[in-house]
């Protein structure tokens, strides 16, 4: 067998193996999107209830709560970046990181120091490679986020926020995550969670719903004290769920195009291999004919 032919066959085999892997990953992601979407849907009643309650309290009380007031000259801003643990998901992590970098430039332009909080191994690796400090990191489980992690993140953030920029805390908190728009579109989004812009919920209560005049138990301020951290938790958890669903969708898309590419490669190399084989045969025939001719004429 000719050397050329052998090289082509090797390339075909290699593309076939890659295709098997990418195809499997595509199918796995496809099945996980369903689950991730179901989880997003399942957490909606909670988010709705929390948002509604917060708007209710905010509507009926002119509160100057520590979590809702804008600080005078904010100095430190937290940026929470939600990426994935694993790659092979197209631009999933890089588009969030790019967005975070833009946000960082903007905030620093406004004279704020940026404090990084990273979720997902990809973000951690990116920042570690560039020697940028991170205040806290969370790794593992980005594709199946748990509420405990969300709570942990929210607790850390709220604590830092209450401490304030004067004492190693932060004055505002931004989150950057991939919003799940549809199976084909996931857009990176920046949301400022704190100080709170109340009634900016994803789930706006319908315009027909007039919020009733609530009694509060205990006092309004205490209710708000208890509600706001819960609200932050729910926003963080929502961001994590969206990010997880987006990750699966992005991975499915990336793996689908990888599989298609492998198909194309296999087809091209098969053509080339056929060509090479045919050329080899033609050459052998002409050698035999030439040899026979030479023998005949030698007699």
């Amino acid at each position: 067998m000719g050397a050329q032919l052998r090289v082509y066959r090797q390339k075909i085999r290699s593309a076939q193996t890659t295709k098997k892997i990418t195809r499997a990953m595509e199918l796995i992601s496809a099945s996980r999107i369903q689950k991730a979407q179901a989880r997003m849907a399942a957490s909606a009643p909670y988010a709705r209830a929390v948002t509604r309650a917060v708007s209710a309290v905010a509507t009926y009380s002119n509160v100057d709560h520590v979590l809702t007031t804008e600080r005078e000259n904010p100095r430190r801003a937290a940026v929470v970046v939600f990426t994935s643990d694993r790659g092979l998901a197209g631009g999933f992590s890089s588009q969030v990181i790019r967005e975070a970098n833009e946000l960082r430039t903007r905030l620093e332009g406004e004279g704020r120091e940026v404090v990084n909080y990273l979720v997902g191994r990809k973000a951690v690796q990116y920042y570690a490679f560039r020697r940028r400090a991170a205040a806290k990191e969370w790794m593992g489980g980005t594709d199946q986020p748990t509420f405990e992690t969300a709570k942990d993140i929210a607790d850390t953030l709220v604590e830092a926020f209450i401490a304030g920029g004067e004492s190693e805390g932060v004055d505002e908190i931004h989150i950057v995550y991939n919003r799940f728009v549809s199976l084909v579109t996931q857009t990176p989004e920046i949301v400022r969670v704190l100080p709170l812009e109340v009634v900016d919920g994803v789930e706006e209560p319908g315009s027909t719903d007039v919020l009733p005049l609530y009694e509060f138990e205990p006092e309004v301020d205490d209710v708000l004290d208890a509600l706001l951290p819960v609200y932050i938790e729910s926003r963080i958890f929502n961001a994590m769920l969206q990010s997880a669903a987006s990750e699966h969708a992005a991975r499915q898309k990336a793996m689908k195009s990888a599989t298609d590419n492998a198909d194309k490669l296999i087809r091209e190399y098969t053509r080339l291999a056929n060509n090479a084989r045919q050329a080899e045969i033609t050459q052998q025939i002409s050698e035999i004919v030439g040899g026979a001719d030479a023998l005949v004429s030698a007699k």
Binding site: Y46, P212, E217, D222
Partner: protein, 87 residues
């Protein structure tokens, strides 16, 4: 008689929903009982149990940690990061 439409939601799912005759919960101020026609209220639950008496069937007890409870127009929502049915 009017009924309460109740839903117990935790962060990741709806734990229970249905019609009920009465709800007893413990807020930070003390126990509160809710019957149909209750005024709108928003209360913070202290860690503890919420007892729901459904229209039909036996009483249900749910655990709701660090949650709150809202009542309006006979719609009761019990919200907690982690909530589960005990029995």
């Amino acid at each position: 008689m009017a009924e309460l439409s109740v839903s117990v939601v935790s962060a990741d799912r709806e734990v229970w929903s249905g019609a009920a005759k009465q709800i007893v919960a413990r807020t930070t101020e003390g126990e509160i009982g809710i019957l149909p026609g209750h005024e709108p209220i928003l209360g913070i639950l202290s860690a503890g149990e919420v007892r729901i008496t459904p229209v039909s069937g036996a009483a249900i007890t749910a655990r709701a940690e660090d949650g709150f409870l809202s009542v309006e127009n006979d719609t009761v929502t019990i919200v907690a990061g982690q909530a589960e049915l005990v029995s």
